[in-house]
């Protein structure tokens, strides 16, 4: 499968004789090196997986053994130790609401920047982009104070509203809208469509892939967020799963089987999603670069 040497990166100056054997050998070496490195990336997840299924006798052995015992007890016990269903639903709610709000505000703002002409448009757009240069660290304390003044500490909203606008989203969607041929708008206009109608039935259906990319970004960010929920919540009832897992790890710091079980259980949904829409994720990352370059 790796017999053909790729265009980039390997290969010495062509020498007519042993060239083929040398090339084939280089191909195999390359594949082997790649495989070993890729397995190293997988190893930590595999170790956690094995540990989570260990029998008690097998946890504290050295060197660690690498075959799971398929003992489900750690999972059963860890499930009983906390209200995981509630934490999971908290994460789902916070993530879903963040995505919905941020996508809506981004679509509307991007539309205005692309399709509606108003005085100071370019200046305002620059004012939006400037946000990318404000380090998130600078906003931690002031945002806490503002949410405190709004009486929103310890609520879902404290974890959602600060992410209500996505500069990345506005930027990408504006780019996309600007790439639409103006004849679309002319045609819609002829048919008597207004801005909202044009946005809803022409522009939005076309920008589904862009929406998916932005939604994915917000999803990964929101689902994995830890620092902000840790700061703005103390009540377990509104906390997401990451905060709950950290608390479990702190309280039961020697119970490696259960800690690993919780970690694996929390990682699994993302791994499944990852395998389902891997292509979109990769395209999203490759595109995200365009914002700076």
């Amino acid at each position: 499968m790796s017999a053909e040497t790729p265009a980039v990166g390997t290969g010495a100056a062509p020498r007519p004789r042993r060239r083929r054997t040398a090339r084939r050998l280089a191909g195999w070496v390359r594949a082997l090196v790649g495989l070993v490195i890729a397995l190293m990336f997988l190893l930590p997840l595999y170790i956690a997986f094995v540990t989570s299924f260990d029998t008690k006798a097998h946890v504290f052995v050295f060197p660690p053994h690498l075959v799971p015992d398929w003992d489900w007890h750690p999972y059963v016990r860890v499930w009983q130790m906390a209200r995981w269903g509630m934490y999971f639903m908290n994460s789902v709610f916070i993530t879903a609401t963040s995505i919905a709000i941020a996508l809506t505000t981004s679509v509307l703002a991007a539309y205005a920047f692309a399709f509606i002409r108003f005085r100071g448009r370019e200046k305002l757009f620059i004012a939006v982009l400037v946000v990318l240069m404000i380090p998130a660290e600078a906003l931690l304390i002031p945002n806490y104070i503002i949410l405190h003044m709004m009486n929103l500490i310890n609520t879902y909203w404290a974890q959602i509203l600060p992410y209500g606008a996505s500069v990345f989203g506005i930027f990408l969607l504006r780019q996309f809208f600007l790439s639409l041929p103006s004849s679309y708008w002319d045609a819609a206009c002829m048919d008597g469509a207004g801005h909202l109608r044009f946005l809803w039935s022409v522009a939005l259906p076309l920008c589904k892939p862009t929406l998916l990319t932005i939604g994915l970004y917000i999803f990964i960010g929101a689902w994995n967020s830890f620092q902000w929920p840790l700061i703005v919540t103390t009540s377990h009832h509104v906390q997401p799963i990451e905060v709950a897992i950290q608390r479990l790890a702190q309280q039961h710091s020697v119970d490696w089987r259960r800690i690993s079980a919780a970690g694996i259980a929390a990682t699994m949904p993302l791994v499944i999603i990852f395998f389902l829409i891997q292509k979109h994720i990769i395209r999203g990352i490759s595109r995200g670069e365009g914002i700076q370059g």
Partner: protein, 313 residues
């Protein structure tokens, strides 16, 4: 809603007639939701962040008095602040070069069109989407000096074993190791996207001229990839300065975060602890202010270097 101002009528005569209709009256409705969030949660806080450090601020708002530079003076004379600064710089000094070198190496290694290599790429990217806390606690076990796999590997190769997170010397490199594992896949994808954008005719032409692989990289691929490398330097630096979750989890959480003996206390962790565990908001804000200045300095320095080294097509 649509206000027909004289201005819009004049503009109608310009060539791009299609995107003309509207004006502020209409645009405002579309912009308002996003701008509202940005004003409340970005612009006002950004303004606050500049001023907060100069006051004695209390959440209950009883006595907000002007403090001058006293918060800053206190921060600068606090030894842990300097330790945190040092740790932050060490973390960045490990992360940035390793990220660049490894993502370039892996990017070239894995840039092959085949299902085998596609699955290798998947394996490298997988850690990036895993939740940081959930996987950090798995790494805690791997770092365990007595039973962890890392020391098992070291002793397999007859190397001296390490105390990893328990040693004040190795704790920060251990955090960097986890962070590399978690984020490198992202950087590799970016590098591969950039490699994919290089026209193959350029490479073929160089090959026909008999350029060696090293010369090909030095003279052609390097310059063509330099904007990407610069981008990676920037985002790795920013990511390093912002890193919080893994440091918090790997150093044991609430009570022990930043340990052992401040070995993993970075500036952002110190800001967090000062503000949200000790509730010294203004004092913490002054530290955050200094951190932001550090970030600005980094960015300026990197842009200055970029002017010399980065080649834009």
């Amino acid at each position: 809603m649509v206000v027909e101002t004289p201005e819009t009528i004049v503009r109608v005569r310009r060539p791009r007639t299609s995107r003309v209709r509207g004006g502020w009256g209409l645009a405002a409705w579309f912009l308002l939701p996003a701008l509202l969030f940005m004003v409340v949660f970005v612009y006002i806080p950004a303004g606050l962040s500049l001023t907060l450090g100069f006051f004695h601020y209390h959440l209950l708002g009883v006595d907000t008095t002007f403090a001058g530079l006293s918060n800053f003076a206190a921060a600068l004379s606090y030894p842990v602040f300097w330790t945190a600064l040092e740790n932050t710089l060490i973390f960045a000094a490990i992360m940035v070069p390793l990220t660049i070198v490894l993502s370039l190496a892996l990017g070239f290694l894995l840039h092959v069109e085949s299902r085998f290599y596609a699955s290798l790429r998947t394996m490298v990217l997988l850690p990036y989407i895993t939740p940081v806390i959930a996987t950090s606690i798995g790494w805690l076990w791997m770092f365990n000096p007595q039973y962890g796999i890392l020391n098992a590997v070291l002793s397999f190769f007859h190397l001296p074993t390490l105390q990893w997170l328990l040693s004040s010397h190795w704790a920060m490199p251990s955090v960097a190791l986890y962070t590399l594992w978690h984020s490198l896949g992202f950087d590799v994808v970016i590098v591969m996207a950039a490699i994919g954008n290089i026209p193959s005719s350029v490479i073929d032409a160089a090959r026909v001229d008999g350029a060696s692989s090293w010369r090909l990289f030095r003279k052609i691929l390097g310059p063509l990839l330099s904007p990407t490398m610069f981008f990676l330097v920037i985002i790795t630096t920013l990511g390093t300065l912002q890193a919080f979750s893994q440091i918090y989890a790997l150093s044991g959480g609430a009570a022990t975060a930043g340990g052992p003996s401040y070995a993993t206390t970075t500036l952002i962790l110190l800001v967090y602890q000062t503000a949200f565990q000790d509730f010294h908001f203004s004092y913490a804000a002054s530290m955050a202010f200094l951190l932001v200045i550090l970030i600005l300095l980094f960015t300026l320095m990197q842009s200055a270097l970029a002017k010399r080294w980065v080649f834009y097509q």
